[in-house]
Structure formats: structure tokens, C-alpha cells
């Protein structure tokens, strides 16, 4: 190929990419007129536009995250609509394009909380925010080698949840209900997801204290209720009466497991993870043995609060210790004994948090293995 053609092809490729990016940004802009309109309300946020960037509205979990962001926004005397929802629909490209568009429209004066959708996407997102002069906190997804203190004050903090310890606690409750012996099956999340890996590890850690427990099988059901029901049925065919307990990596899969068991009139102890309202009801009824609550409302609120408070100068991130810039959120084990109390405190009415108590619920600095 001649050099001329090569250059031409490369140029066209770049042009096409720019066009795509511009289109994506344009679409986002039209979809969010409210965010880009002249915001009278912005005065109350010190002139900073607020946004939460996340996957979708189709799960109780993300809705709880968003409710926390909205609660923080309201605590500033704004309306909850003043926080912009940047929904990435599971696309890292859209996540980045939306955030760039939001920064551009607000001249960089933006405080953003974000789950970057996948780990590698956290770096370009954080760099885009830094280059535009905005402030960002991230949750869940980020590569191990990316740290807020390496990017600077604009990358305020990263928040995650350790799956291992609470998952181990749930497993121990399961093993005790089984009388300390017998076969266990595990239903896992999407294999490469960090929480899926950690929650399975938790089960394995707990097994060390229970030598008579046998882990029969672990398979992914991709966090999905239907897939979990089918996987549980297949487990029953394969292992039959050997199964004495079921350990699920989230609530949604536990719902499927319970239905697969119901179909055959089988009763087995089952534990779950996430602490969704339906799961807590099931714990109260005794259908589920335990679930783990990670307080997504607080997580969603504090992530946005940190970004915004750094933006308006309430604190300077670089003056904080590392444990304030990469930390775990809280986890609460919910069992039948405390389910009722838990429901009253956390679900029936949402607790009011003091968003200036920035690290009050932190469960310590993130540890890398």
C-alpha cells in the first residue's frame, strides 16, 4: 500500500471516530436539557453541576445508589432533579462520552460520582475530569494500579466494598444451619466481576473452619434469576440429596434458587448478598437464611458528597491520608434475628446521613492482593 493511501485511510478512521464521539456527545446533550439549561439552582452548589454516572435504572441496587446522590443534592437545598443521571447502559464508551459532554457543557465546573462500568475505563474518565478541572469520585470499578493520589486532587476518592469477609460470615451461618457438615453448592456472578470473585473467596475462607463441609460445585449464573433457577435444577440432577445448603453471590440469584427448590418441594438453607428489600422480607419469613446489606444509599450519597465538597473547597483531598481516598463501604449481615430491626432502620425509612461526616461509615482502606 502506498504511503498516501495509508495516511488517507488512517485519517478517515480518526475522522469517523471523532464523528461517532461527537454524535454520542450530541445525543447525550439533547437527552439532558435540564442539566445543560441555565441552572438557577446551581448557586446553591457553589456553581458546580452535579452528576451520577452509572449503569441503569433496572435494579434496586442502582436505584438505591442514585437515591443517595439525590439525598445529598437535596441536602444542599436543591431539588433532586438538579443532579443529572448519566446512564451508560453497560457501555464504557458511553460512560466516557457522557462525562466528557457533561464537563464540556459546564465548562469543567462539574462534581461527578461514577461507576466507570469496567476497570480499565476508570483511568480515561478520571483523566478527562482532571483535564477539564472537574472533580470525581468513583465506586466499584478501577484497576489496581490506578490511585486517586496519582491523578491529583481532581480524583477525590474511590469507594468499594469488600465481598470476602461478609460473604464468609454468611457462609458460616449457612454451615451452622447445616449442622456443620454436608455438601454446598455456590451460584456465582459473571466470572470476571470482582465482587463475584470475592464472594466466592469468602465461601472458601469460611470452609477452613468447617472441615466436614464439602464444596460440591461452583458455577456462574451471571447475577440472573432465571439462569440461577435453571442452574439449581441442574445441580439437583447432578448431586441430588448430597446438597445440604446453597450459597448465592447475590439476592437475585437466590430468588431463582428458591423457586427451583419450591418446584420440587425441597427445603434447603440458602444465603444471599445485597440486602435488597425483597430479600430482607424473605429473611424475616425464614425462606432465606441471611443476606448482606452494603448500604448503597450511603455509598451513592457519600461518593457525590466527596466530589462536591472537594470542588467547593470544604477539604483538600491531597491533605487527607490514603485511607480516606480509597476505602471500603460498610457491610451489614442480616439474619432472622435482626431482620425486623434492620428493616425498620434502613428500609422502611431511609436514615438521614450527615454528609459532612465523610468517612464515618468507612470500613477501612482498600487492600490489594
Amino acid at each position: 500500500m502506498s504511503n498516501f493511501i495509508k495516511t488517507y485511510v488512517q485519517q478517515e478512521k480518526i475522522n469517523r471516530r471523532n464523528l461517532l464521539l461527537a454524535t454520542a456527545a450530541g445525543l447525550t446533550a439533547t437527552a439532558m436539557p435540564r442539566a445543560f439549561g441555565p441552572g438557577a439552582a446551581m448557586a446553591d452548589s457553589g456553581g458546580w453541576a452535579l452528576a451520577w454516572s452509572y449503569r441503569d435504572r433496572a435494579s434496586a441496587y442502582w436505584n438505591a445508589i442514585v437515591s443517595g446522590g439525590e439525598a445529598y443534592t437535596e441536602s444542599l437545598g436543591l431539588k433532586k432533579e438538579d443532579m443529572t443521571n448519566l446512564i451508560n447502559e453497560g457501555s464504557s464508551e458511553k460512560s466516557l462520552a457522557d462525562i466528557k459532554a457533561f464537563l464540556a457543557k459546564n465548562g469543567g465546573k462539574a462534581a461527578i460520582a461514577c461507576d466507570a462500568n469496567d476497570s480499565p475505563n476508570a483511568r480515561p474518565v478520571a483523566e478527562a475530569v482532571r483535564d477539564a478541572g472537574g472533580y470525581i469520585s468513583t465506586i466499584w470499578n478501577k484497576t489496581d494500579d490506578l490511585h486517586p493520589w496519582d491523578i491529583g486532587d481532581n480524583y477525590v476518592a474511590h469507594l468499594s466494598w469488600s465481598g470476602e469477609k461478609p460473604s464468609a460470615e454468611a457462609a458460616k451461618i449457612l454451615f451452622d444451619a447445616m449442622g456443620g457438615e454436608g455438601g454446598v453448592v455456590h451460584l456465582g456472578g459473571i466470572p470476571a466481576n470482582i465482587p463475584a470473585i470475592e464472594r466466592l473467596n469468602g465461601l472458601k475462607v469460611a470452609m477452613k473452619d468447617y472441615p466436614k463441609i464439602e464444596l460440591l460445585d461452583t458455577q456462574p449464573a451471571d447475577w440472573d434469576t432465571t439462569k440461577a433457577a435453571e442452574l439449581m435444577s441442574s445441580y439437583l440432577t447432578k448431586y441430588g440429596d448430597k446438597i445440604k445448603g446453597v450459597h448465592c453471590a447475590n439476592d437475585n440469584m437466590a430468588y431463582g434458587v428458591l423457586q427451583a427448590l419450591k418446584a420440587e418441594g425441597i427445603n434447603l438453607p440458602v444465603t444471599a448478598f445485597d440486602g435488597n428489600p425483597e430479600a430482607v422480607d424473605m429473611v424475616m419469613k425464614g425462606d432465606l437464611l441471611a443476606t448482606v446489606f452494603t448500604n448503597p444509599h450511603w455509598g451513592g450519597g457519600i461518593a457525590l458528597a466527596l466530589a462536591h465538597q472537594a470542588a467547593i473547597g470544604k477539604f483538600k483531598p491531597s491533605e487527607e491520608p490514603n485511607e480516606h481516598r480509597e476505602f471500603y463501604g460498610p457491610s451489614i449481615l442480616v439474619t432472622k434475628a435482626d431482620a425486623e430491626n434492620f428493616k425498620k432502620t434502613y428500609l422502611d425509612s431511609t436514615p438521614k446521613y450527615d454528609w459532612t461526616d465523610r468517612w464515618g461509615l468507612s470500613a477501612g482502606q482498600i487492600v490489594y492482593k
Binding site: N63, Q219, K227, L231, T237, G256
Partner: protein
């Protein structure tokens, strides 16, 4: 056995071979209890596959199933709760209402495709997104639970070892077979799929047939939605997820040609059973999870090679 006969029965032979293969490795596979489990997994998927079969026979495609099933399942649950929460009472009305709604949604799907002249691939896919969006909007991301033991008898009540929902699915399969074989509409699907111009020239109102086909598909998606609720006791915006892959794959594996005019609802049944048997069998014989997806893909290709007559077509697009 002639070549033609062999081709006709090839999908069934593939199914039998798979069952024998999995049973040889783990005898538990070949048990009534496992077949009952398979029937629970397969019933909703079968209804979707039957619905889409009519469309594929016409040479079109309907990809709205995931959104349609989610939205219809959610609407059904809300109606049932609103009407008292049990199909033993007024709640029973929610069943025909959902089926009619499915018919209507399908008809709209068809009208958009025919009237606005948008290829069915695109129009139905877009309608599917509308359905998912509607389900998200209605539920706000939450789950609608159905605890009605009478309705849940579809899952829990057994006759000859099989749950009631398997018989319901079988009943609707027979209905589909009657429509396909003994009605003018059924024959018109084949006429349109075999050669649209020819059908038009012979006086078939092709547009009408298309709209009716999509309406019929919507009806079966509604049945799938009901069975999905019966199976899981809940509906949410992702209730219909994964049904696209399993239904389209099943129809093709079962021997229905994507270019139209060939195959029918029995092929859909065999196809759904093949895919369900592969999914269940891989776990039962202990294939490691990280190669299951890849193996499913390979087995599907092999099944298509064995079960479709590719010699009769000049080229494949």
C-alpha cells in the same frame, strides 16, 4: 430411508443422540425428575420459539421478544395484584387480558414493520427496547412478586411427574400446530415465506398476513410471559432476558430455515429441547464453566449442520 426423510427427522436424531450422550456419562440425566426440570426451563422458551417460528417461516424476523415478555409479565403481575392477587377470583381476568395485550403489542409491531416499511429486524428490535423501557418505567427497577399459590400451581402441581406448566405449553403448542396446518393464515405464512411476489400475485394479502403473523407472535410472547411468572413467582424489567438467544437458536437448530418457507412449530419444539438438553447436560456431566459458552456455540453449529437442508439453497446470506 430417503434423504428427504432423513433430513426431516435429523433434528430429532440429534436430540436423541444428545440425550444418550449425556445419559452415558451421568445416568442421573435420564430420569423423570430431570426431564421435569428440563420442561420447566424449556416451557417459556418454547412459547417464544413457537411465536417467532411463524415470523421466520415468513422469511422475516421478530427480535422484540425480550422486551415484550418483560413488559407483558410485569403488566400481568400488576393486573393480578390489582384484581385481588389470586387467579381463584377476579384475578383470573388478568390472564386473558394479558394474552389480548400480547396480541395487540404484536399487531403494533407488525404495523410498524409493514406500514412504515422498516425491515422487521430493525422495527422489532426497536419495539423490544420500547418494551424493556416500559417495564423499567412501570417497575422503577423493582421486582413485582406473585405469591398466589393457585397460579403458582403451574409450577408446583404435578401430573405424571411433570408440572402443570409443561402441559399448558404443550396445549399452546398444539394450538400453534392447528393454526399452522389447518388454517388459511397458516398456509399463507408458507406462501409468503416461499415466495412473496408469487404469493402476492396469487391474491394473498401479504401485508395483512404479515401483521397477523406478528400479532400471533405477540400472543405467544404473552403466554411465555405468564409461564415465566409462574416459574419464578415474580416479574421485573429483565424477566425476558436471554430469551432472544435461546429462541432464535432453537428455531434454527430445530430445522426452520431463516430464509423462510421451511419448518414449523414441531421443529421449534425439538430445537428448544436440544438447546435445553445441552445447557442442562453440560452442568450435569460437569463441563467446567469457563468452556460452557464456547462449547454451546460449537454444539449449536454442529446441530445446525446436521439438522438443516443446506443443499437446497443456492447461497446463504
Amino acid at each position: 430411508m430417503t434423504r428427504e426423510n432423513l433430513l426431516k427427522w435429523a433434528p430429532v436424531l440429534v436430540l436423541i443422540a444428545l440425550v444418550l450422550f449425556f445419559s452415558a456419562i451421568n445416568p442421573n440425566f435420564l430420569s423423570l425428575r430431570n426431564f421435569a426440570r428440563l420442561s420447566i426451563a424449556a416451557s417459556p422458551a418454547l412459547m417464544v420459539a413457537v411465536g417467532v417460528t411463524f415470523i421466520i417461516v415468513m422469511g422475516s424476523i421478530d427480535l422484540s421478544m425480550e422486551g415484550a415478555v418483560s413488559a407483558l409479565a410485569v403488566i400481568f403481575c400488576y393486573m393480578l395484584v390489582w384484581l385481588g392477587g389470586s387467579v381463584a377470583g377476579l384475578g383470573l381476568l388478568a390472564v386473558p387480558a394479558t394474552l389480548l395485550l400480547g396480541l395487540g403489542v404484536g399487531a403494533i409491531n407488525g404495523l410498524i414493520h409493514v406500514r412504515l416499511r422498516i425491515p422487521s429486524f430493525m422495527s422489532s428490535l426497536a419495539m423490544g427496547f420500547v418494551g424493556t423501557g416500559a417495564a423499567v418505567l412501570m417497575t422503577g427497577g423493582n421486582i413485582v412478586k406473585i405469591d398466589d399459590e393457585v397460579f403458582r400451581a403451574l409450577l408446583t402441581y404435578r401430573m405424571l411427574g411433570f408440572p402443570l406448566m409443561a402441559y399448558v405449553a404443550l396445549g399452546f403448542l398444539l394450538l400453534a400446530w392447528v393454526i399452522q396446518s389447518y388454517t388459511r393464515l397458516g398456509r399463507n405464512f408458507y406462501a409468503v415465506g416461499g415466495g412473496e411476489d408469487l404469493a402476492h400475485a396469487s391474491g394473498v394479502n401479504v401485508k395483512r398476513v404479515r401483521v397477523l403473523g406478528f400479532a400471533l407472535a405477540g400472543f405467544f410472547f404473552a403466554v411465555a410471559g405468564l409461564l415465566q411468572v409462574a416459574k419464578l413467582g415474580q416479574a421485573e424489567s429483565v424477566t425476558g432476558s436471554n430469551l432472544m438467544f435461546i429462541s432464535i437458536t432453537s428455531v434454527v437448530v430445530g430445522g426452520v430455515a431463516l430464509w423462510g418457507g421451511i419448518g414449523g412449530v414441531w421443529n421449534a419444539l425439538v430445537g428448544v429441547l436440544i438447546v435445553s438438553v445441552i445447557n442442562n447436560g453440560m452442568i450435569v456431566i460437569g463441563i467446567p464453566d469457563f468452556i460452557q459458552d464456547g462449547l454451546l456455540g460449537v454444539l449449536v453449529i454442529i446441530a445446525v449442520i446436521l439438522s438443516t437442508d443446506r443443499r437446497s439453497v443456492a447461497f446463504v446470506k
